[in-house]
Symmetry: C2
Subunit: 198 residues, 2 copies
């Protein structure tokens, strides 16, 4: 086929997206070629616009089109509390749940010797600066309950820990709606050891 | 977040791709935003290039950047045989298998009253013209072994059927490597009724 090279190149790029393989990428591209005006070109423009306009918030690492993201700028946001998350996806998850009134700090990853991600790859110095600048009283380490996540949490706690600042982590236990029968031992252990007076 | 609107619009467009849902679309977009230079912008450009350059072959309906696709232009391709397929994906499947030396004709769908796709939506007149123009001796109806596919096959056969032209369809039977125990009754029935001398 003519123009196969272009189409193959597009399929390869699509196939590199998480959740898509070569097969589904081909299907997606054929779908786009059928819906050229209504889907393909708008998608191209949207990607281009986002790619050129969106960057990282200089303060917290969230995505923004300006220098500072809306959360950092928002005067309604409570001062003094910084919720440390691994990446923007986690920040969005917290925001969707509308559970945290303060501001965020995106580390940009977790310590992981295997992928050689070391402390220097995480936004920890910036966090230390913010603690000094924003009269922070509490740091909430909202990191994944995985080995990497918890290792990173301990490292960050040690790094930024100063007097008169509370450092807390998310509680571990039975998820809401969770049935004990289906929970792993680790979760049950955590839920039992941090049991609360009823 | 600033620029949320652009990002949300992009996520919506991605979520409309077959094989992606809102969740995986969000993951894909965040992945792209991490790999801006190496993945996002190239993808945008590739989409744009393909969207502007690629169109349907005027002869067979395959994808091409010119007026006529490479298969139709290829002098190596055998004259006289046209393989009728439902869409470009099926044409690609046949080409990947490298089993057909002739040329193709893409119908652009199958008869489906429910989605109101009628004969007028399929490239049947064009096929009739080609039969006259290209000294065709055989039409191979390589349509899906589904109700729609076979209905369409019968319709096309009736429409384009003229003297001195053989019309054939793909054989139905046990797929290569197939185990009888796992085959549906319809396949077994077809395989038995069109059994071959050993």
């Amino acid at each position: 086929m003519d123009g196969t090279r272009d189409i193959e190149a597009l399929i390869d790029l699509m196939a590199r997206l998480p959740g898509l393989g070569p097969r589904s990428a081909r299907r997606a591209v054929l779908h786009l070629l059928k819906k050229r005006e209504t889907h393909l070109l708008p998608l191209a423009q949207s990607l281009d616009r986002v790619g050129r306009s969106v960057r990282d918030c200089l303060n917290c690492g969230n995505l923004t089109t300006g220098d500072i993201c809306r959360i950092c700028e928002d005067p309604e946001r409570q001062n003094g509390q910084i919720c440390v998350v691994e990446d923007v996806a986690d920040l969005w998850a917290m925001e969707r749940a509308r559970v945290f009134p303060g501001r965020y700090h995106v580390l940009g990853g977790t310590l992981s010797p295997l992928d050689d991600i070391g402390p220097e790859d995480l936004a920890i110095p910036k966090l230390r600066d913010r603690i000094a600048a924003e009269e922070v009283t509490e740091i909430i380490l909202a990191l994944n309950a995985t080995v990497e996540g918890q290792t990173t949490a301990h490292y960050v706690a040690r790094e930024v820990g100063v007097a008169n600042i509370t450092i807390s982590g998310l509680a571990q236990g039975v998820p809401v709606g969770g049935e004990l029968d289906y929970l792993d031992d680790g979760t049950l252990k955590a839920a039992l050891s941090s049991r609360k007076p009823f």
